[in-house]
Assembly symmetry: C3
Homo-oligomer: 347 residues x 3
């Protein structure tokens, strides 16, 4: 933002209509929530659950839809308030630049590395043999790119990330700190003596464009071929993606989920947090895997599953509800003279 932003300027950038009593020339200092906003900040209202805060907010103006036009508050009326909020956040994004430009002298680049114009390589970053860094790429402080890594244009690799050898990352992708892409998959052959011989992991990881990968994730390289993360897929933090997994486009994977080896995930699949998916499975497109699910078999496209072992979600709910009535049932049966002893079923 070159000029000092005003309410009128913001409404116009959001494609919204300013209504209510606030002066369009009022300066806007930032974006906040209904509850926390100061009288120089804007916020948004998108959920009736928060209607009471709408009445009491101190915000200068509220990004909202037409349905609340009658309120006395100053409003920026837009079609989709949450998307308006998103745009306002973009307009007020803080400057987090490191203060270091270009290739920092403390970064160590092998002479064979190719760096395109506009790339920024932070202090103490290390780039091994034969890497290729696209235009406008940012490599964070302390990040390590091992041999033969390719990073597409405008991708951001944050501080202390490790991209292991031969990893390929597309364009406009973001990888957050501490994540390791391309470490060896977990493959061993049992030995005569109860020991384990390592199966060399000769493949790599290929990450698409417009992908975002959170902090401290692990995406293992393939045995042969590639472990693949499709375009527009977003991973949260602390996620495990095993060797030879393929994840399609536009998926959302919540934190601490783990996907075992060779499983194929379709497009637009959503995983809740701490979900676990077994190996060699197929998860159909647009499936929803609830948080903490244990997926032990294929999931059809569009299905919603939950529980461990997971079942169709409605079925899981029915069983959980019935189980909650079980102590009462046992009491009732006892009254009726029927005894159930643990483990006496004979079939």
């Amino acid at each position: 933002m070159t000029e000092r932003p005003t309410l009128g300027w913001l409404a116009s950038h959001l494609g919204g209509r300013l209504c209510g009593m606030a002066d369009p020339a009022s300066p806007v200092e930032g974006v906040s929530t209904l509850e926390a906003a100061s009288s120089r900040e804007v916020c948004y209202y998108g959920n009736r659950k928060y209607a009471k805060h709408l009445m009491t907010t101190r915000a200068l103006s509220v990004i909202a839809s037409t349905e609340v036009e009658t309120t006395a508050k100053s409003l920026i009326v837009v079609k989709d308030p949450y998307d308006g909020f998103r745009m306002a956040l973009e307009l007020f994004a803080p400057d987090r630049s490191s203060g270091f430009d270009g290739v920092h002298p403390s970064a160590v680049l092998h002479p064979s590395v190719s760096v395109s114009s506009g790339a920024v390589i932070g202090p103490c970053a290390v780039i091994h043999r034969n890497c290729i860094i696209g235009k406008g790429v940012s490599i964070g402080s302390g990040a390590v790119l091992e041999a033969g890594v390719f990073v597409g244009d405008n991708t951001v690799i944050h501080s202390n990330v490790t991209l292991c050898a031969e990893t390929r990352v597309g364009e406009n992708t973001v990888i957050h700190s501490g994540t390791v892409v391309g470490s060896d998959g977990f493959g061993f052959v049992p030995d005569r003596g109860g020991m384990h011989r390592k199966v060399p992991q000769n493949g790599n990881v290929v990450i698409g464009s417009h992908v975002e990968i959170g902090a401290n994730c692990c995406i293992d390289r393939a045995v042969t071929g590639s472990t693949v993360i499709g375009d527009h897929t977003k991973l949260d933090n602390l996620i495990q993606v095993a060797h030879n997994v393929t994840i399609g486009n536009g998926c959302l994977v919540a934190a601490q989920t783990g996907i075992a080896g060779s499983t194929a995930v379709g497009d637009g699949v959503v995983f809740g947090g701490q979900a676990g998916v077994g190996g060699h499975l197929v998860i159909g497109s647009a499936a929803v895997i609830a948080a903490k699910s244990g997926v032990t078999k294929n999931v059809p496209s569009g299905a919603t599953v939950s529980g461990n072992p997971c079942r169709e979600h409605m079925e899981t709910l029915k069983i959980a509800s019935a189980s909650a009535r079980l102590p009462g049932l046992l009491a009732a049966l006892k009254t009726n003279g029927l005894r159930a002893e643990e483990g006496t079923e004979e079939t």
Copy 2:
């Protein structure tokens, strides 16, 4: 320890009374367990479960309470043996200093960074624009502090930690290696084409004083405002704290727990390992969340919950116990001529 420690010196430092036959002038070389202690080490006894080891330990002396005064062993009698053990461990803490003092010449500090007296900044640490480092702070080797980070006095940031832009850490806090504080929260707006637009994460993370955060944790920055970890709260390893979560004071969070966005945790809450907490929930103060719980609704203050979806702990136990009797029940009912078919309930 400047002088060579003796048993008498140790007893006096623990505020304990030495009894039994050991010579107060005996040198003490360290602290160990009942089973592993050598004849030059001390250990502690605090649990009747280990009474048999009390008889056979080779330890020079045992930190214990009055209740075992009759034993033939040499004892250091204190009120709280476990706290005495803790104090003895402090007295015998090994020297783990890196050997590097002050600001190491290989560390890269932006000229705008302010470093207070007594701070130690390790080799290959990187500190971006406008950071402020308090007195007596230790920044580990390879740690990265991005723009505008504030670190309070006497805080220890271990090797290879990443503190993202605008993170604020209080005094006397410890953050262990590999942890990432302040990476972007997981926020996206679904797009027409099934793709996802990033919601900028404009907020930060604020960590209190006397906090300890384990290794390879992830604490995400807020959308607006701050993700907060209260004073005296302790986190174990590999924990996920999502954007806009607030954790109160004096909580204990065991390893691999995940807390989803905007959840508010009170004071003194205890989480078992691998617990998962949904978003936008309220966990009351002094609640206990058992290991592996899946928390899907608010938890009242002082409640103990377990299971997935979690319930009051006693209820979970009852249901689990009743479920264990279910196979037997089905057998008994069969004998009584009643058949239960899966999925035929009509309500």
Copy 3:
């Protein structure tokens, strides 16, 4: 590989017999799968499930056992096809060398460090006071070895690993990126004021030989003595091993598993992914802990357990199967005039 490999050369190195129509002089360019192999690559066939791919593969030759000798395909017939595949992968392992040799000038070694012949220390690695680095060891870029660390011969420490003070690692062991070995265990004594006093963690971590530890794992140092990982044990990614845990020899631990403090794991134990094991337990040798299990009591040698809280696996299956029939049972009972109310059991 100095010479250009041919099919004959490969068959001979695998100790296999070439049969079918392919020319032993055909060049082999790599190893792949039945489905993905090009006509210049070999693959393996070891599971009838993939028999249809055996018919359609474009592979130059297939590593297989005698049982499929009749196929028209070119085969390399060996006793154990999977082990043959493993050997072929070894022969075709890509060159991932960093391009940096010896001790890189940007690495920071305290003068007291001892480095044996043939060790490679990558750019921006940091090695504190009194470390000892064995022969042929490789320390990755950005890795940090704190004071008094010992690394045995031929061990590989990957990029951005942190080995905390006094950690001891055996020979021929591999530790992948982002892993933290030896950070403080999670030990606190409750205080009068609801706060928590730190129990100093004076012990260390001892890792055996021929061990492999995945990426972003956490292995905590002991309170006193050592946390131990036995020889030939393999850990996947994002695993938590708490203080004073001992893991025996030849174990396999899948990703995101957590083992709480002081638990003793025998030899040859297998853990599925996301398993959780409580503290102070004994897991007998050759036990199998299914994925997502919650282990709350000792597990006998050779047992297979699953579920949370875990039970003998067959029992868990019976209860799960019975629970699935419960909604139908409740319906049937209703028809029979029996009502079960939740929570009305009186005992």
